[in-house]
């Protein structure tokens, strides 16, 4: 792909309704508009997105052979363990953060962002680039290990109370809806999906747009905390997604995924959680400072990935794909 084509794709991404709605949310906070999605609507749209991704992924999973997804699954689990360890180590070099805050950050960066993933799929579909349908399974798998590894890095093996945290992560809303959706999609197949497609398929980008408007406002409110974050954290929040995204693209390509699929695995690795991880970390590491983890994951990494990261990971997947015969 030449530079002009890459820039065109970047522009397609930037001018998509979900990304523009995110920018509108940022503007709403900057000009102090009294705009807020009611909590119940926020919860409902988040549930809708998780279930829709799950069901669609389950339908696609039915068509994938076990041998086709085995290697990508292994690569995903490996990356899910490696990424938080790398984040924990790099933060020690770049920032003065203590062990607990670095562990909390590792948990956020080891887990994934559903919305970044979803925006990447919308981008690929708009660009008419094919990707493996089972990527939603990889999203579900990657939600969990990063959080557990991050918490272990922060606390070590000592100290009880991991039971409640594991329950929060494994049986939390995100994983339950994703796994449940995958199960529904897998069981019902394309025939059953047609009956809910008008709701879970046709309305999807619209609901994502509404959700991103709210996320834009949430991000805007985190920006104040950036001033106290320090330059090391800013460098980390932009450089680490590029490193982790590259690792994901290489892992996906080596596992036999095509350009679109490897790019999505790159996006999953590059993105940081701001729904599942904050709740789990808050319960397990009360002394960690959420203002730092959220300023980094939601305030910087999320907009970076959403606006410029997604086309970059596609470019990475094109380049890495051309290296592997």
């Amino acid at each position: 792909m030449d530079l002009q084509a890459s820039l065109e794709l970047a522009l397609v991404n930037f001018t998509s309704p979900p990304v523009l709605a995110f920018v509108l949310g940022l503007i709403a906070v900057a000009v102090r508009t009294d705009l807020r999605l009611p909590d119940a609507v926020y919860q409902a749209t988040s549930m809708y997105l998780l279930l829709a991704i799950g069901i669609k992924g389950g339908v696609a999973l039915r068509e994938a052979s076990p041998s086709e997804i085995a290697l990508p699954l292994v690569a995903t689990v490996f990356l899910g363990v490696l990424i938080p360890i790398a984040a924990f180590g790099l933060l020690r070099v770049l920032t003065p953060l203590g062990r607990v805050d670095r562990g909390a950050m590792a948990a956020h960066y080891g887990s994934t962002s559903l919305v970044t993933f979803t925006a990447a799929l919308v981008f690929l579909e708009a660009s008419q680039i094919a990707f493996e349908g089972y990527v939603a399974t990889l999203l579900t798998v990657l939600e969990i290990p990063g959080i557990i590894v991050g918490l272990l890095l922060a606390r070590g093996l000592r100290g009880g109370g991991m039971g409640e945290t594991l329950r929060e992560v494994v049986l939390g809303r995100s994983v339950l809806l994703l796994v449940g959706g995958l199960g529904i999609g897998f069981a019902t197949g394309p025939v059953g999906y047609i009956r809910v497609e008008s709701f879970f398929g046709d309305l999807f980008t619209g609901v994502l747009t509404l959700f991103l408007l709210e996320l834009g406002m949430l991000t805007g409110r985190q920006l104040g905390a950036l001033r106290q974050a320090g330059p090391g954290l800013v460098v980390f929040a932009v450089a680490f997604p590029l490193l982790a995204g590259f690792a994901g693209v290489v892992g996906g390509t080596l596992a036999g995924m095509g350009t679109g699929g490897a790019m999505v695995l790159g996006v999953l690795c590059a993105s940081a959680s701001y729904i599942a991880a904050p709740a789990a970390v808050r319960l397990a590491l009360p002394e960690a400072r959420p203002s730092i983890t959220l300023a980094s994951s939601l305030g910087m990494t999320f907009p970076f990935n959403l606006i410029v990261g997604i086309p970059i990971y596609l470019l990475m997947a094109e380049i890495v794909g051309s290296w592997v015969p």
Partner: protein, 101 residues
Amino acid sequence: MSEHGSVTCLTIVAESVLEERLLAVIDECGAKGWTVSMAQGHGPSHHGVSGIEGGNVRVETLVSDEVAASIWRALERDFFPHYAVSAWAYDVRVARVARYS
């Protein structure tokens, strides 16, 4: 006419992520029931997680003085040092006072 009497109304406003943990403490301390509602607001220890996880919760329970003291001790030990929690108590007159003790 049912028997009226005084009990303590303990109100706790906390990050919604703590809801399950708070209710477990309230049950363990011997409360007979509670009411949970969603709440929005701003406090001195502004943590920022509640905006992501669906705001705050407001938990109210009508209990005897002993149960209120027991819940209060648990709050001071496990919640106040680390989390954004506000709690207050006051005496209220209730009908059917035996239900709460």
